[in-house]
Symmetry: C2
Subunit: 373 residues, 2 copies
């Protein structure tokens, strides 16, 4: 069975949408943030911990699973859910972003057929095509698969992007043609940088192919400005159908979640919260803190008094600081739980606010504290 | 309140003892294996996971906590239990073993007053004395503290050991004299290498000081033979009182647990099971396996069908192998749970066997499978 999106309510003052996405592994409300389980594990965490924090759907990376352990092993295990013992919905990306961001020496050779590049692990030659990406994902048996796209650098000029989009459209068609998993849904991806005409063209042409949902890509590059990200969303959304979910790929900063939801995005993912955690950073309503800071040495209060996560209910900043400084992985685990719960709870609050037509009120309240520092 | 040991039954055919140890943080049955939480955390695991696997008491390291975060911070947090959110019994060692095993460049200067050495973290000069070790442990507020002893190398000759034991006895007295925590108990430590006369002398003189329990030390050095370890126990036990617990320090190999229990030991600790886990090794009833082995690549069965641990109930060898090879910490976490549960369950079985006077039967059955390889 394919996924089904029910749009329940649109905020009166913005494009923020509240909806429900039905999948073969359960339903979840949108907008939603998806923790990233790159290698079939959300780093340091168990599936039970993800459930306890209210995580309803996770993302896993096709490129990484292709290299380790290999899609055939996952298939033999009975698919990704069984392999990793996670019975909730899973979304897989196409590998496109990793090819462009992780290829050894950043060198790759993009042809009409696909992309030649070298493994980030051992440097061996790899060749990923739209068909192969889909075939891998079909075997992984995630609930939602992504089309294979080119992720051009933010610095790419208009002409390069135009050609890139046209190729990505041909790749999307090729992927769709070989797609063969009736229990999996497939999203198309809109590219086009910060250019209104290109986003419009990419969105219209992608939607013509009738995917189960639509992603907005090319916004998560570090060198891209926030303003360009917001423009990319603004220029894409008007051409996406109301009855399909919209997914902004690779975005997980709290401010960006608000900006994305306000513009009509339903789904987000990012390694940001768990990566920050491993470096000792924690989200708080008053901005990010680094737990290594000397001032937390004798701070026997939780990261946030108001947080309901496992870490905040049981541990102090002084203890977590000690763990992080001592490189004890339980510290990264506690901060990962906190940071993910922070974003998940933020999305819960956004959903309630949308239903009550007070999204902007919630946003302003959050910004006034978060940006205060 | 001090701990209290109730001897309940001695196996008819061996010296194996079944008993109950009462502490301020709960009672537990002996013989028992204690997971090691070096830096106020059993690496990768939560207190809840320790409870779920049946762990009743843990050990933490005075030397490590002295350096990070420092005993004063732990005291300000309300003691070690509150600092790490663990409400079960905790035993702390004296730091003596770490001074001798971890001192930078293995160089140290042993004087009557104490030991001068360099920090294994930053090389700064440190000076640990019997009084300081006890004062640190008093502040950590563990349930059971250890006397500060010299841990001479296995290669030390009889004369060196004789002098070392006499100094360790003087150190034990000095530590006992400054001991000041009415909710904490203090163990004396028997040394003497594999020499009958020295173990006898050390045990008799240590027992004269009337400690709350007795440890047998100097048996966990890697370069010491198993036979010497067993002799060290055999030569010490006859001089230890029946109504006090006996603790064999730093021992966690399944075979050594059987040999120790058979000789009358009640308590064991070792980093072995968790360290093995981080290197991809798992205990099984048929001997140790390394999960990295190619033969487990498509093995979709648990580490052990008969094991009741969280890892074996939910995950396959193929998945855990993938995690370990990909250096995902969830893999080390799953193997740590399995290895600890393996030893804890083994001790549970030993306790039942002792009560039923069939300890040797259990031992023979275990050995016949474990040593088969």
């Amino acid at each position: 069975m394919k996924i089904k999106y029910d749009l329940k309510h649109v905020d009166k003052n913005t494009k923020a949408r509240f909806g429900i996405l039905h999948t073969n592994h359960g339903d979840f409300e949108t907008p939603i943030f998806m923790p990233v389980g790159t290698l079939a594990t959300v780093k340091t965490l168990s599936p039970e911990e993800l459930k306890e924090m209210g995580s309803a759907v996770i993302l896993s990376n096709t490129y990484h699973l292709w290299l380790r352990p290999g899609e055939d092993i996952v298939k033999k295990a009975g698919g990704l859910h069984k392999f990793m013992n996670y019975d909730g919905p899973i979304l897989t990306d196409s590998g496109g972003y990793q090819v462009f961001s992780l290829a050894k020496n950043k060198k790759k050779d993009i042809t009409e057929e696909g992309v030649h590049f070298k493994s980030h692990i051992d440097g061996r030659n790899l060749f990923l095509t739209p068909e192969l990406s889909i075939q891998i994902q079909n075997k992984l048996d995630s609930d939602i698969a992504m089309s294979f796209d080119e992720c051009p650098p933010a610095s790419a000029d208009h002409e390069y992007l135009k050609n890139s989009i046209e190729r990505t459209l041909r790749w999307a068609k090729r992927g769709k043609d070989v797609f063969n998993n009736e229990n999996q849904s497939l999203f198309g991806i809109v590219q086009g940088g910060p250019h209104e005409d290109l986003r419009k063209f990419s969105a219209i042409e992608t939607v013509k192919m009738d995917f189960d949902g639509y992603s907005i890509g090319g916004v998560a590059n570090d060198d891209e400005s926030k303003e360009d990200m917001y423009l990319a969303i603004d220029y894409s959304i008007p051409y996406l159908p109301e009855d399909k979910p919209r997914y902004l790929m690779g975005v997980g900063d709290p401010i960006d979640l608000f900006e994305g939801v306000e513009r009509g995005i339903d789904m987000f993912d990012c390694v940001h919260p768990t990566r920050l955690a491993r470096h000792g950073n924690a989200f708080t309503r008053n901005g990010k803190i680094n737990i290594r800071n000397e001032k937390f040495k004798e701070d026997f209060t939780p990261i946030e008094d108001t947080c309901d996560c496992y870490a905040c209910k049981h541990y102090t900043k002084a203890y977590i600081r000690h763990l992080i400084i001592s490189e004890e992985t339980f510290g990264a685990r506690l901060l990962s739980i906190h940071n993910l719960r922070f974003l998940i709870k933020l999305m819960e609050e956004m959903r309630v606010a949308i239903k009550e037509d007070r999204f902007l009120e919630l946003k302003e309240d959050f910004y006034s504290k978060y940006n205060k520092k």
